[in-house]
């Protein structure tokens, strides 16, 4: 790389005449802070329409937390209805079957696309990739701003869909055709059109974001930052971006086809007119399953960073984790039909998709074992982010195990469409979205906001979340094995579900506890931003580059020079050296040994 702090003007191609108006263009990203700081910094450009990757990351974070409240409110109404069917729900009223369908659909959509992705990719990726690789900003700062505002528009669209005639989309978060393809099946017209529009904007936003992430990580690394000196989080974000870019295309085509079915009266997915409803399921899950790994990888990345720092040990198997991540990314593209074992697709396909599904647990297990071996014989510091990282390992293993069970077609066919599946994907996905996200938020909060979070409140939040998380989702496996189907409005309508109704009440009360525990975080979060103890530059004694910048980093991240990298990201307790850790930008000659 070796690019300096001040940009060289764009080199003219060979043979260009000096008379051409070849104005020396200065690359603003490479300018030292002293020069960028003089640009106009009105309130709007600083806080709202900012091109600073750190501000944009915070915008993603705030948007996601707001949408999490909305998604949480929807699930509160659903759980109340399941525990005490057809009673008036405090803060909502009565729920009919049509409303319930809209609630499940939008709970799924909002939590996956407007909470998990904005936090794990939008906030973590934007904040950390430039800081960790030693860049002053993303490769395309204005595109970055556009990505966020398109997502913002998308979230406005999904929220407005609740207020149009017919109500919000009610065809499930997977939008299975023909349910989603014709208005008469759900009674919802504009709701589903807006739901599709929100997806289109969301995909556009994260496509631009993914291109930006990849270009940044490939072209903007600081001098000395080779690919195998990158922190694992950057690798994981890059792999997540690649999988997203490669898997979302067919669904974009599918969404256009669905929209044509709805608006133009074509029949791609409508069987009575020669269409194929299974085609939609293939297109949806070709994206839908890799999407799980798109969310998982940034979560894994955050946990790996935290494990190394608070074990005071180098990551076990750094390169093998990278190779495993890439294998997981590849395999995730060829497992999708395990969602469709009972859909009526050719049953001969069940075997190959079972095999790839179970195969993907091998590289995942390799990463998890590397996490455990990183802890082995480390000097573990039980800080709040470390607690969340440890919680992640335990909960992720628990959720992953039922994944292997479900990957096998014979078992899957028995429990398909029951609460066992709901319990599985909430355990495994929330271990990423809750435990992975909080690992990252508690760890990088000092860098983001320049203040420390309250430790006792953080620990209490972790403890209550861990307890209520298990009280909520563990019994759900039992309810599912008892045969309770997903997406039913009133379990009491079925005689065979009478015995598990007490468990349904129990799950609802636990889910309320889980929700209330999150307000501890919100209080801590807001209070710490305003009045937390001031954070040092490197409060956790971490070796990666983001901690060499001030807390919070100014526009441009570092002063006049960007750091030069001399070593890998995890040199903790290195042998034969007095220091506890060696930061990545520490020159070999500067060591005190």
């Amino acid at each position: 790389m070796g690019e300096g702090t001040v940009a060289s003007p764009v080199k003219p191609p060979q043979g260009i005449r000096p008379t051409m108006s070849h104005r020396a263009r200065v690359d603003p990203i490479r300018l030292p802070v002293a020069r960028t700081a003089h640009e106009d910094r009105s309130f709007w450009r600083t806080y709202i329409f900012s091109t600073d990757h750190k501000t944009i990351a915070k915008q993603y974070l705030f948007l996601a937390l707001f949408m999490a409240l909305l998604g949480g409110y929807l699930v509160y109404v659903m759980r109340w209805q399941l525990a005490f069917p057809d009673t008036s729900i405090p803060g909502f009223g009565f729920v009919g079957p049509e409303t319930y369908n809209a609630l499940t659909t939008n709970h799924g959509t909002i939590m996956v696309f407007f909470v998990a992705m904005p936090i794990l990719l939008g906030a973590f990726g934007n904040f950390l990739i430039p800081l960790m690789i030693g860049a002053r900003d993303m490769a395309f700062p204005r595109l970055n701003m556009l990505s966020f505002w398109i997502l913002f528009a998308s979230s406005l669209v999904i929220m407005s869909s609740f207020f149009v005639p017919g109500g919000a989309a009610a065809a499930g978060w997977t939008g299975y055709a023909p349910l989603s393809a014709r208005t008469e099946y759900t009674g919802v017209n504009w709701g589903i059109n807006l739901w599709l529009l929100a997806h289109a904007l969301e995909f556009a936003s994260f496509l631009m974001g993914g291109v930006n992430f990849l270009t940044t990580a490939i072209t903007m690394r600081a001098p000395g930052m080779t690919f195998f000196r990158l922190p694992l989080l950057v690798w994981q974000q890059m792999t997540a971006s690649v999988i997203f870019l490669l898997s979302v295309g067919p669904l974009i085509a599918g969404a256009v086809m669905l929209l044509m079915d709805r608006l133009l009266g074509t029949s791609f997915f409508v069987p009575e007119q020669g269409g194929d409803p299974l085609l939609w399921q293939h297109l949806f899950w070709f994206f839908g399953h890799p999407e799980v790994y798109v969310l998982l990888m940034p979560g894994l990345g955050a946990v790996l960073e935290v494990l190394a720092v608070f074990s005071r040990k180098s990551i076990f198997g750094y390169r093998w984790i990278i190779y495993s991540t890439i294998s997981v990314g590849f395999l995730s593209l060829i497992v999708w039909a395990h969602h469709m074992f009972i859909s009526g697709m050719d049953p001969r396909l069940a075997m190959p998709f079972s095999i790839t599904t179970i195969l993907i647990s091998v590289p995942i297990a390799l990463i998890v074992f590397s996490m455990i071996l990183t802890l082995w014989k480390g000097s573990i510091r039980f800080t709040p982010p470390m607690l969340w990282a440890l919680g992640f390992i335990v909960m992720f293993i628990l959720g992953g195990l039922t994944g292997i069970v479900l990957g096998s077609a014979p078992v899957n066919i028995q429990v398909h469409g029951t609460y066992f599946v709901v319990a599985h994907f909430h355990t495994v996905l929330l271990s990423v979205v809750i435990f992975g996200s909080f690992t990252g938020i508690y760890f990088w909060f000092p860098k983001m906001f320049g203040r420390m979070m309250n430790v006792p409140l953080s620990n209490l939040h972790f403890l209550l979340t861990l307890i209520f998380f298990n009280l909520t989702f563990f019994p759900m496996h039992a309810v599912g094995l008892a045969g309770m189907p997903r997406r039913i409005t009133n379990p009491l309508q079925y005689e065979f579900l009478q015995p598990v109704q007490s468990l349904n009440v129990y799950i609802t009360l636990s889910a309320l506890g889980l929700t209330l525990a999150q307000f501890l975080f919100l209080i801590n979060f807001v209070w710490s931003i305003v009045a937390g103890r001031k954070a040092e530059d490197n409060p956790w004694e971490s070796a990666t580059l983001e901690w060499t910048a001030p807390s919070p980093p100014p526009h441009g991240n570092w002063g006049d020079t960007i750091p030069t990298v001399y070593r890998g990201p995890y040199e903790y307790s290195p042998p034969g050296v007095r220091e506890d850790f060696l930061p990545q930008d520490l020159a070999p000659s500067a060591r005190s040994d």
């Binding site: 191609p13 051409m20 490769a139 496509l207 291109v211 044509m260 074509t266």
Partner: protein, 190 residues
């Protein structure tokens, strides 16, 4: 087109080129997904050939020629930029834009004559796929023309960001290649 060594390029040129390659990768998956659906649906059901016979292979051949020529003029625009020939850049960009518009004109004529014959998107599976695939492609042609117009306006004022011609060219050639797949699959296979 000059295959430049990446490390010799200026930072913005290098960033732009890498970004466009990733964009193209995702676009390949969009068209790949749609084309796979079409091929699978077509091999699964009979009666598609009779529908496909309504299409005019002659018009499509002319259109293929128009679009391929536009790729050539796009490459010549970049070659002119490398020789610092500002007038050449403008001239060849204008040619590319006009050829793109000609492609869209012929495509529009085809659409109008099909619809006049009662062959609309809702007239059966073949026509659904025909309008989906060619419509998506036409949207990409429109996007490429807009990009080229922006470059033409910029080139009129000087050439200081001429590397963008190469980046836009990558995209334009990709749109061409998509058509190379659509042409035989829709027009020639019946």
């Amino acid at each position: 087109m000059r295959m430049a060594v990446v490390s010799e390029q200026s930072a913005p040129a290098r960033r732009g080129k890498i970004a466009v390659w990733w964009l193209i990768a995702s676009e390949v998956m969009i068209f790949g997904g749609a084309l796979s659906c079409y091929i699978l649906a077509r091999t699964a059901g009979p009666g598609w050939s009779a529908e496909a016979a309504h299409l005019s292979a002659i018009l499509a051949t002319i259109n293929t020629f128009v679009l391929l020529t536009s790729s050539m003029t796009m490459a010549m625009a970049f070659a002119a930029y490398q020789k610092a020939d500002q007038r050449g850049v403008c001239r060849f960009l204008l040619c590319t834009i006009l050829l793109g518009l000609a492609f869209l004109g012929i495509k529009a004529y085809e659409y109008i004559s099909h619809i006049a014959d009662g062959l609309a998107p809702w007239s059966g599976s073949f026509w659904s796929f025909y309008y989906l695939l060619t419509g998506l492609h036409a949207l990409h042609v429109i996007a490429g023309i807009i990009v080229n117009i922006i470059l033409l306006l910029a080139a009129g004022k000087g050439l200081h960001t001429g590397y963008r011609i190469e980046i836009a060219g990558l995209y334009w050639h990709f749109v061409d290649i998509v058509w190379i797949f659509l042409f035989p699959l829709l027009y020639l296979s019946y």
